[in-house]
């Protein structure tokens, strides 16, 4: 299909998931993974990572610091499908069940250099108040089947009716 050494370009991503602000929650951990297009192939490093559980700092910032390193290298032939990092944060609820506290995604920066990104996080909401209650009670909040959907556009079209 291809010649011996097809031309590719490399994208090296170094960084870390530094900290988070979840004023309502404590003792959270986060996971990250990458979503990228068909022309992208990770060549080195970890595509996925999971952090330690961290507690809120005791100062006024109340930050949840993970400092989870990210180090991955992609190769690609096409900027289309530029990698996105998908973060999902989990933590225990009142009953001690791990529930999801936030999803978020951001594109890996397009320009080289140091970048700092703040990702707004969100979670899917229960469909009804009753379900909200039961999900709270059972410790099974609504979750995405796959956290990667936050970085994908499929099925997001507004449907009539």
């Amino acid at each position: 299909m291809m010649t011996a050494s097809p031309s590719v370009f490399l994208l090296m991503v170094n960084g870390q998931v530094e900290s988070a602000q979840f004023p309502e929650y404590d003792d959270l951990f986060c996971k990250y993974c990458f979503v990228y297009g068909q022309d992208w192939v990770p060549t080195a490093g970890l595509e996925e990572g999971i952090s330690q559980i961290t507690s809120k700092s005791q100062d006024v910032r109340q930050a949840l610091v993970w400092n989870l390193p990210i180090d991955v290298t992609f190769k690609s032939t096409n900027p289309y499908g530029w990698p996105q990092i998908v973060l999902s944060v989990y933590g225990p609820d009142v009953f001690g069940n791990d529930v999801v506290r936030g999803y978020g995604a951001v594109h890996v920066p397009f320009s080289p250099g140091r970048h700092k990104r703040t990702i707004p996080m969100f979670v899917p909401e229960s469909t009804s108040i009753l379900q909200k209650f039961t999900s709270w009670f059972m410790g099974r909040r609504p979750e995405y089947t796959d956290p990667k959907v936050v970085a994908q556009g499929e099925g997001r079209e507004a449907q009539p009716g």
Binding site: P6, V8, E24, Q38, V60, V123, P124, Q131, G155, A158
Partner: protein, 1619 residues
Amino acid sequence: MNPREEKVKIITEEFIENDEDADMERQKKNPKVRRQPRKKQPPTAVRKEMVSEKSHLGNQQEPVQEEPKTCLLSMTARRGPQSLPPIPSTSRTGFAEFSMRGRMREKLQAARSKAESALLQEIPTPWPRRLRSPSKKELETEFGTEPGKEVESTQQEIDSQSHSRVKFHDSARKIKPKPQVPPGFPSAEEAYNFFTFNFDPEPEESEKKPKARHREGTNLEQEEGEEEPPAHGGGKETDEEELLNGDDAEDFLLGLDHMADDFVAVRPADYESIHDRLQMEREMLFIPSRQTVPTYKKLPENVQPRFLEDEGLYTGVRPEVSRTNQNIMENRLLVQDPERRWFGDDGRILALPNPIKPFPSRLPVETQELSIKAELETMYKKAVKYVHSSQHVIRSGDPPGNFQLDIDISGLLFTHHPCFSREHVLAAKLAQLYDQYLARHQRNKAKFLTEKLQALRNAVQTGLDPEKPHQSLDTIQKTINDYKSEIRQTRKLRDAEQEKDRTLLKTIIKVWKEMKSLREFQRFTNTPLKLVLRKEKGDQKADEEAYEAEIQVEISELLEEHTEEYTQKMEEYRTSLQQWKAWRKAQRAKKKKRKQAAEEHSYDETEEPHPEEDLVKPIPPEPTDRAVIEQEVRERATQSRRRPGEPMLVPELSLAGSITPNNQCPRAEVLRREDVKKRSLYLKVLFNNKEVSRTVTRPLGADFRVHFGQIFNLQIVNWPESLALQVYETIGHSGPTLLAEVFLPVPETTVVAGRAPIEEVEFSSNQHVTLDHEGVGSGVPFSFEADGSNQLILMTSGKVSHSVAWAIGENGIPLIPPLSQQNIGFRSALKRADAISSIGTSGLTDMKKLAKWAAESKLDPNDPNNAPLMQLISVATSGESYVPDFFRLEQLQQEFNFVSDQELSRSKRFRLLLLRSQEVPEFRNYKQIPVYDREIMEKVFQDYEKRLRDRNVIETKEHIDTHRAMVAKYLQQVRESVINRFLIAKQHFLLADMIVEEEVPNISILGLSLFKLAEQKRPLRPRRKGRKKVTAQNLSDGDIKLLVNIVRAYDIPVRKPAVSKFQQPSRSSRMFSEKHAASPSTHSPNHNADYPLGQVSVRPFVEVSFQRTVCHTTTAEGPNPSWNEELELPFRAPNGDYSTASLQSVKDVVFINIFDEVLHDVLEDDRERGSGIHTRIERHWLGCVKIPFSTIYFQARIDGTFKIDIPPVLLGYSKEQNMILERGFDSVRNLSEGSYITLFITIEPQLVPGESVQEKFESQEDEKLLQASEKFQAECAFKFPNRQCLTTVIDINGKTVFITRYLKPLNPPEELLNVYPNNLQATAELVARYVSLIPFLPDTVSFAGICDLWSTSDQFLDLLAGDEEEHAVLLCNYFLSLGKKAWLVMGNAIPEGPTAYVLTWEQGHYLIWNPCSGHFYGQFDTFCPLKNVGCLIGPDNIWFNIQRYDSPLRINFDVTKPKLWKSFFSRSLPYPGLSSVQPEELIYQRSDKAAAAELQDRIEKILKEKIMDWRPRHLTRWNRYCTSTLRHFLPLLEKSQGEDVEDDHRAELLKQLGDYRFSGFPLHMPYSEVKPLIDAVYSTGVHNIDVPNVEFALAVYIHPYPKNVLSVWIYVASLIRNR
């Protein structure tokens, strides 16, 4: 170190300086201070001692002193402003001169007070000093001279030195600002400074130090003697110091106490006058003025303002800011920012057109805890529905308010109504005509035109008048010509108008006459209409004159016209005549030539074509005749004009007539009137398609008028899009019916209440009404004539009189949306928003209208928002010849095309990207499309292009004939379209696809879980854990494995000993009846003697091949082996696509082959037997089981015992022998012949089969039936959720069809019926075999995941492919036509899963038929693959199994028992007699024998090639003799359906190929494609034999059945010559 200490030191210093005086003073006044030296020194202090003491003191104090100094420095630095000015020289000298003693007292007092206050000031900052110094001391004492410390300490020294200087300066400066103190007298401050500060000049101190050094000797040799206290003295000194501190502190506090009141000063309150304050404020504050800033101020000097908008650049609209605010801002900016950066070239503040940011920005989170929470708190907001027609919503910028639309509905009048009697019809017609007449009369166009004509004539007259010479002759002539042509036009118009008037009058009279005659005829009157014709007589003579004059004028005019025309025509005639003559001449010349030519070649003449057509000789025009014209004119005049003297008729319609009362009317009429009375009407008002109000219901009057007289005030917020009225009629007590809908125009903004005229809108309805009384009905023909001729069809129609207007508010302001109020002169926001709303959609296609609108609304041509429109208009108005009749929305697209289309199609990379994004199967999962074209091989596209070609041209090589090719093509197309539909549907995610959410538990689950909480914990109890299911998302090659667990097999055929003493076995002529009758075997165990019991009869092993991967078990022994082995086969999805859709369409089959491992001793020399073993392993294929992957995928696991598909002839093997071994099973086993294997197959990890897309299909079934079927299914599913219940299915067109429509007796092919004319059962078997020969093609593969599509039997036979349902339906239909009782059985079978079988009722027992294999089983056959029965379907009913069990063994098939079978059609819902979707009759073409033979040859050739391909390392020899033998044998097999020929065959083979060891078998399959045949041959592994001298034989036989159903036999064998 605290301030007290400091003070102490200061005083000590002073004391040192002033010697005795100071000493005395000190003793007197400051006993506290004095104590210190006293303690250290004896009171008898002499000077010398003092010196020593001083030195001592200095020594002692200096370390201490240095510290406070540094501290002081820091302190002074902190005090800032107190820093010291240079000392006046006088102060020093003054000191010397003073005899101080006297003054010293007061000074000291003052100094003390000062010192106290200074101390007080210092108190707040004691700690830093304290903290620092001891630690430093410590460091210094303990560690000696550290380099770092040294530096620091030198620094300190320097500081201290400079500090002393500074202090001095300070004092001097303090003196300075107090000039009021008399010269010579030191002020209090001075005095204080004098006593408190160290006035020692630098040199003095340095002097002192050396002194001290000398005294201290070695200790002071160190450079920084002061900082480095002697090590020995350190401890003692600090002790003393502390003691001192304690005492001082006490004394000081005491002193403070009693002196506190001395410091309070009394002063008057500060007052600043308001004037001052204002003054100050004016200085401090800046209040920008509200005055407009002149432009020159805002611009750089000498720059003229520049207005971009005037220059034609688009500037956008500035946000609305009030003028004053703007001025204030400008003034402020002018002061703040003198560079005028904030002002644009036009001298205005820079502003963006839109203050709204295009992207959201997040507010910075405040650090306070509370606000963070408030900030980040998640809020739920309900989704807001997007308002589609936003342009019609009043913008937020507009003042909100209610606007009011008044709709006045005054009444309704029917111009036709079903209840109209004939008279009404006429009356309505009359009224209509009269209305027309009145309207025409009012306009009186004829008169107007007559007058115009007159005027024109006069004009011509005056124009011709020679007395008016002021115009050139030319222009006069021209105008006259114009006039004349206008006269002509006008005259024509007038004539037409007059004629119309006249005919109208005539028709009115005619209708009226008709009406009168009708009234007479029916002898009653229904309508009060009455027409009166008033005659107006005029002056006959004048009339006549005018008439005649008119005619004369007309004639003369016409004559003039004609002469003009005549001359013109004459001219034309002449020219054409000349042309003709010239042509004639030429023609003649030609003819001559031709004649000459003809003489030479006479035969050519006729063929020679006449190139030119003959010109017709022109005819001269005829001159006009006056008489003719006159006649014409007169004729016309009589027709269209009132004759002179004839009275003018003026019709007058009145309602003065009387209606015949009811009692005098005939019955039909009375009925009609009563019917009318029953009817009532109301109107609904719809605003923007929503009902907003409705009128009261009013009865229909006898005159078919309804008066409402209601005014509706619509308070609206939205700009009205549509306004409609719906007319509803109610008859009696029945519900209202919608008659018609009328759309009202939205009024102009000028139309306000009170000024709106009542308007009428017509409506009509297309309802059909026939009435049984005098009413004529609607939409039905009726006639006025007695004989029914001349029929009329009238539709219900009428008029609504209404008025719509904008209301006027209380203060007289019209309540119109303001957008349109600004309309005049301004560009309205509404119109700016959308052209459509202002000129309507139709206007968009009308370029001129659009352009006009654009001009009117003053669209900014530079506004990017208007670009598309402007582009269009510019094209339309630029006068280009080509005006597009379309409206392009993305006219800028071209600018965004980064390459031209040609380049896009030429580039391989772009092509690849395009194809991938179009989800073309080959490229859907293409990864890493290369960057450069050169890196893309042409090969990539080959497959795709080939497929594209193949789509149109189906290779006939693989297909028997064009028919089959067409079927394949059709199937391919259906498949593609369905798959495309499916791919689109796949994009629609449901909530459940995206989000995992727990269901709300119902009470029972809750209760159960609560119960579980209370349950005892049993940690050791084993629990079954469900396997994790994997959705096919991130799978890749190698992730999925197929696990095949081969458990055991039964009844494997065993080897026969060498057939040396072959005997013809008694042919067991098993009849059909024996198969199901549980009779013991009739086989005679005649081979018993041949087999010693202990001998291994067979060594079977199982080989599983899937996707060309092969795995096999170990070899077991005996005919009932048990392997219990798990084989693992990798699974690869096509194109690496592991999506559900792709997995569903995997067509691969798992072949499970059973082989016999045969060891051949190849030792040639018997003598070596002791030392070596030379055996060759051969394997002989015994049979196979095929399981399609799709079955495994959908079933998740397959577990059961399957019948091994064993070829009918298996040379060298037999099955008879196991009777002896396992006689116990005989009765059971013998029921169904064959070998069985127990398998367990699953996929690891478990894949989630795709949900079939639940689409609602349209249907032509009765709605009630559909509802009933839904209900039925729901009920069944509720009771037995696992049992299959089918009521409706989807046909091949995607429509829902009731299932029983598929069942109908259909004729099987004649050919089959004729085989066994008398044996019904044999015929049935043959038919079943025929059906099973139709290739099997699962729907789920072809129509991935959509749903089962059911094709009718003729479609099935045409397509020659279908799955279980189609087979079953066809078989069932055949059975029905054979007169059997047959049902379709829906249930579960292995390995198919949910499937359809056929059940028949034979005498006394039931038979279950597998339609795909043609096998049948008795009801109580344990090996029947059908395991569950869900429902039975007959041609007229559906029965659902409501018995406790669903296994066919345990249920009763008697559908007449309602307790066992729930029937769909019952007494409550009788069978409505549904027509069948099947054809009346199936038509079979005879199969083409020649084509079959051709195919047979081709297949044989292909297979032979394949076998040679599969043996690349060996020579493949073909034994032609054997092949021909086999070929003769195959038709026999077909005839006997593969039964009971084995022994004959064997004998024959033996006879012919006596010296060969032969292994081989026939394979039998239905024919669909070549590929399955190849696969089947491959799976037998015959080619695997690698004995050097092996020979092969392969024969193919195809037996054609009607409709191109082909039965394929392949005999494949390997031969080894016996030595």
